[in-house]
């Protein structure tokens, strides 16, 4: 940490105080913690606003509108109008004008997401699940064939049982009202085990990230204290 500049010192000091204020939550909820939270949210929102305005509105709307020739203004007008119409959503009386814009945005986003999910995740993952049973690739990789197959079986079992766990369709019968079919229920219970393991792994990652954040802040505090002490001393 280089505290040569006052700005850096001020920044460090503010950071140190904010860190302590956040750590004060260990005791209980207190105004210092809330102040720190509010500052964080405010700063984040402000910075995001400035970034969006600077990077988009100013450079991609206003500046082209001013600097572009008249023959190219038509390229800027549609975004301008759509943006103005989108702002009408804030008014209950004029919100109907922004509905087409919102619909346009939602439609494009949905289409993009769906196509990406299909082509980028679903199909490749299905192909990858099938390719797990590619014995030639297993031999080429030099891995143990038995282990390779076992791994493949486990992966496929986990995939099927996890999908069965999320199957909530039931038959419309009086004797089995509200109940799934027995075999689906059995597979779902196995998939529940895989889900538990996966969620455990995710939790471990989250905990590890939290530990890293703790280490980072404690290290910051340690460094700041030692710096201050070094500076003072």
């Amino acid at each position: 940490m280089n505290l040569a500049n006052i700005s850096d010192l001020a920044g460090a000091l503010i950071g140190f105080l904010l860190t302590l204020m956040v750590f004060s939550y260990l005791i209980k909820d207190n105004p210092l913690f809330r102040l720190a939270i509010h500052i964080f949210i405010g700063v984040s929102a402000g910075y995001a606003t400035i970034t969006v305005f600077y990077n988009i509105i100013l450079y991609r709307l206003i500046s082209p509108l001013i600097q572009s020739p008249l023959s190219q203004i038509y390229l800027v007008l549609p975004p301008l109008l759509l943006g103005i119409w989108l702002l009408t959503k804030a008014s209950p009386r004029l919100s109907h004008l922004g509905s087409p814009v919102v619909a346009f945005m939602v439609g494009i986003g949905a289409a993009t997401a769906i196509t990406g999910a299909l082509s980028g995740t679903l199909f490749p993952q299905i192909e990858a699940s099938i390719n797990l049973f590619d014995l030639q690739a297993a031999r080429q990789s030099g891995n143990n064939l038995a282990f390779w197959l076992f791994n493949a079986m486990v992966v496929m079992a986990g995939t099927i049982t996890t999908l069965a766990y999320f199957h909530f369709g039931v038959r419309d019968r009086q004797e089995s009202a509200g109940r799934r079919q027995p075999w689906i229920d059995f597979l779902g219970r196995i998939g529940q085990i895989f889900l538990v393991v996966a969620l455990g792994g995710l939790f471990a990652g989250v905990y590890a990230a939290a530990l890293n954040a703790l280490i980072k802040q404690l290290t910051f505090i340690w460094d700041f204290i030692w710096m201050m002490l070094g500076t003072i001393l």
Binding site: Y59, S119, P124, A128, E175, A177, N212, L214, L218
Partner: protein
């Protein structure tokens, strides 16, 4: 006053009631109850000669002495004016002259013999004269007449040897009534009515509500006083007999048995104390007496009174008795019995009665005879066609008096019978059920029993009456003249028998229609071969539904139950636990920092994950001066975890001489990119080796657009320089200008979006991931799958430390590796200890609960 016995149910009711309090039947006729209860007439007992108001009302002011009063209770009597009868002949009947009428009718009644076929000439007069007693008799409130009474009536009184009034005063107040215990029931009722319960119907306009004999004008009313010839039954109590106590049926039959039984019938008029001769004679030889209740008129042939009986009847009455032989039923419910049947008298009495016959009666007889000459009375129709005494009577046995009464009454309806009452309009009689327009009922009061009495039929001889009535009503066929016969309308010949379908000769052999032919056949298909299935209507409730219902019920019950306060736990509060854990972790970090790091070896060799080695290899094999796109999409909160790995990768890329272009879909990404550049080498920016493209809006769509047209999406960098015209980029290539994509994010969704939207457009450029430990499980399939969508991953602080070790550039990750390792160890220890403690505490708690439940 004595109670009144209901004729329907036989129960005693107070005398002041008009309707039975038990069965709601009327206790007295309607006209009796129309008048309020009045004081006994002052004329009773010989006191006062005033005519009661009702009687005066019968005679309107405009009427003369000989006119028939209108508006009286017996107005219907005066209204009867059949065509066959002259009105004048009847009018005088109701020409009340008290001094004469009572005596006359009574004397005439006493001379009545058994019912006989009445003469048409004088039968009507006789009937009317007989029925005139209804206005003046015990049912009337006529003042007793002090003048002469029939001898037979007086005779009755004398024979009894009791203190009888000089005159039989049948007015309600004028008569000396025998004691209720002694008198027959019917007589007792009559007496009670006389005493004030009954009063004749009066004209509403003229009649005062309260009537007293004293207030009445001095209008004499025929007063009936029993003479020495008065029948004994008038003055002496009825002999105690079972029949006498019966009014109708076993318990309701009137007490006529005491009077009319042959045993009680006196042998002579003088010796007859209880039953008048004329009445007793009804049972002596007349066994075909008509019943007032019979359905049809009696078919008994009219009988003429015997000579001996004729000798007993007064002359005026005997003549009527000969001519009137109609049964009581033939009178249509009206009293048709001849007066001689009611008041049979011996020869002496008859003579006395004949002598005492009032002039008006004689006049009536003469007028009636003249009016009836050549006239035939209308056919007789009974009033109660459907009535049968057997249905009405309570008991099975008919009382003796009734049977004898029927036996003595042999009067049959005759075509020559004369109606006792003339009506204004046909059918307008209160006692007949004959519909208007039909023939008037014939009433014969002189030749037969009273209507109500003559209709009492014998229970054991019901079959005779229909036959007799049929015979009586059967008309003798007559011969029509030829010309008249030819005019007879020819009626279409109706088939006597119904048409029978002979096509189907099948006869039904079973079922309710057995024996019938032409029944629709029942096919085999109509008969069910099997029993229909039973469908339970019971609600089908499965076990799961029951459990859910019980659960819901329990929830509802728990809502009302107060929840017990949780017991304070013996364990330390979470506050202390939280502080303790922080303290432990913080100490571990400070300890590691205090030690300066390097205490714990960095991951090397097989400890480095394969994904990290692949990432290192990809960067190592990157062409020189290649353009690399950096996606800085991690949030500021994950700087401590990702920034170390990111710095290591960027340093490696920078060492490879790659041209770096940072872009972010996060608004704080450009700032983090700048921080990253400053931490690595600030000179990179000056060397035009690092470009910050800023913020890319639109999320997934923005990435798609950037992948399709990056120059259009991001034409300038943050310094405002056109990026795509700079070397080594080729504006024509677009996104393909980049040889590698490095995505740095803590969010798995962001990483997937980059993989789905941008990586296909940059293919076959490798995609490296610098991820947080929480996103690794979600992105690992992209690395492990075939085809491989992610070439390498650097995950978390451990990956950063390992990558720094690979590139041999220690950084923040290497420094934090000791603290991280120590914290992970401490965390594992705390988790294990906590799990064991929680399990132990849970087991202890469950044990205690089970003990409590078992003890309960």
């Amino acid at each position: 006053m004595a109670d009144i016995r209901c004729q329907m149910c036989g129960k005693l009711n107070p005398s002041n009631l008009d309707v039975c309090q038990f069965c709601q039947a009327r206790l007295r006729p309607v006209w009796e109850s129309a008048q309020p209860e009045e004081e006994p007439l002052a004329g009773s007992g010989g006191e006062g000669d005033e005519i009661p108001e009702w009687l005066r009302s019968l005679r309107s002011p405009d009427m003369g002495a000989g006119e028939t009063p209108s508006g009286s209770g017996l107005d219907w009597l005066s209204d009867v004016e059949p065509d066959e009868f002259a009105a004048d002949a009847v009018k005088n009947v109701f020409d009340l002259e008290p001094e004469e009428k009572l005596d006359d009718w009574l004397s005439g009644a006493a001379s009545l013999a058994e019912p006989e076929s009445p003469k048409a000439e004088d039968s009507f007069d006789q009937v009317r004269s007989e029925l005139s007693f209804l206005e003046e008799t015990p049912f009337s409130s006529a003042a007793p007449e002090e003048e002469e009474t029939p001898d037979w009536l007086d005779r009755f009184r004398d024979e009894q040897g009791e203190e009888t009034p000089e005159r039989m005063d049948f007015s309600p107040a004028g008569q000396e009534q025998p004691s209720p215990e002694e008198a027959p029931d019917w007589l007792a009722r009559i007496q009670e009515a006389q005493m004030g319960d009954w009063s004749p119907p009066q004209e509403p306009a003229s009649e005062p509500e309260s009537w007293s004999p004293e207030s009445q004008p001095e209008e004499t009313v025929p007063e009936f006083t029993p003479s020495e010839e008065a029948p004994g039954w008038f003055t002496e109590p009825a002999p105690a007999s079972e029949a006498g106590e019966e009014a109708f049926g076993e318990a309701e039959e009137p007490d006529f048995g005491a009077i009319f039984t042959p045993e009680t019938q006196p042998e002579s008029a003088e010796s007859q104390q209880g039953v008048p001769d004329w009445l007793a004679s009804l049972y002596s030889g007349q066994e075909e007496a008509p019943s007032p209740f019979m359905a049809e008129p009696e078919a008994a042939e009219p009988e003429t009174p015997s000579a001996a009986e004729k000798a007993e009847l007064p002359d005026w009455l005997s003549g009527v008795a000969e001519t009137s032989a109609e049964p009581a039923a033939a009178a249509g419910g009206i009293y048709t019995a001849p007066l001689e049947d009611e008041f049979p008298q011996t020869g002496a009495e008859g003579e006395a009665a004949e002598e005492s016959k009032p002039d008006w009666l004689s006049e009536l007889e003469a007028q009636g005879a003249s009016a009836l000459e050549g006239q035939s009375p209308p056919p007789f129709t009974p009033a109660f066609d459907d009535f049968n005494l057997e249905e009405f009577s309570v008991g099975e046995e008919t009382p003796d008096w009734l049977s004898k009464l029927e036996a003595s009454s042999s009067a049959q309806p005759s075509e020559e019978a004369v109606a006792a009452f003339l009506f204004e309009g046909k059918g307008e009689t209160p006692f007949t059920t004959e519909p208007p327009g039909e023939a008037l009922p014939q009433v014969d009061a002189f030749t037969g029993l009273p209507e109500w009495l003559s209709e009492v039929t014998q229970a054991e001889e019901p079959e005779e009456h229909p036959e007799e009535s049929g015979k009586a009503q059967a008309l003798a066929p007559t011969e029509l003249p030829a010309w008249l016969e030819s005019m007879r309308p020819v009626e279409p010949a109706a088939s006597a028998t119904p048409f029978k379908d002979a096509t189907d000769s099948r006869v039904e052999r079973s079922g309710p229609l057995s024996g019938l032919s032409g029944v629709l056949p029942v096919g085999a298909h109509a008969i069910r071969a099997g029993k229909p299935s039973n469908f339970s209507i019971k609600l089908q409730v499965t076990e799961e539904l029951q459990n859910r219902a019980l659960l819901l019920q329990k929830l509802m019950e728990d809502e009302s139950k107060p929840k017990p306060l949780p017991a304070p736990s013996a364990a330390p509060t979470p506050y202390l636990i939280r502080l303790g854990l922080f303290a432990v972790l913080a100490l571990a970090v400070f300890f590691a920092l205090f030690l300066g790091g390097g205490q714990i070896p960095l991951p090397v060799g097989k400890a480095i994950p394969q994904s990290l080695n692949d990432a290192y290899r990809q960067i190592t094999t990157l062409p020189d001066n290649a353009a690399v796109l950096l996606a800085v999409d991690y949030s500021p909160g994950y700087v401590g975890e990702i920034e170390g790995a990111a710095q290591a990768v960027v340093q490696h890329l920078a060492g490879r001489g790659a041209s770096l272009a940072a872009i972010s879909t996060n608004p704080s990404g450009p700032a983090l990119a700048e921080r990253l550049l400053q931490n690595i080498d600030p000179a990179l920016a000056a060397a035009n080796q690092f470009h910050n493209l800023g913020y890319l809006p639109g999320g997934t769509a923005g990435l798609f657009g950037f992948a399709q047209s990056p120059e259009a999406m991001v034409p300038f960098d943050l310094q405002g320089k056109p990026f795509w015209q700079q070397e080594p980029l080729n504006p024509q290539l677009g996104i393909r200008n980049f040889a590698m994509l490095v995505v740095m994010t803590e969010n798995a969704e962001t990483a997937r979006t980059w993989i789905e939207q941008v990586a296909p457009a940059m293919s076959p450029a490798p995609v490296l991931m610098v991820l947080s430990a929480q996103a690794e499980p979600m992105i690992l399939p992209y690395y492990q799958g075939k085809p491989q969508q992610v070439s390498g991953m650097v995950v978390g602080l451990a990956g950063g430390a390992a990558y720094e070790n690979l590139i041999n550039r220690p950084g923040d990750s290497s420094r934090a590796w000791d603290a991280f390792s120590l914290l992970v160890t401490v965390s594992l220890a705390v988790l294990l200890i906590g799990s064991l403690a929680s399990a132990a505490l849970g087991a202890i708690t469950r044990g205690k609960q089970s003990k409590v439940e078992s003890s309960v």
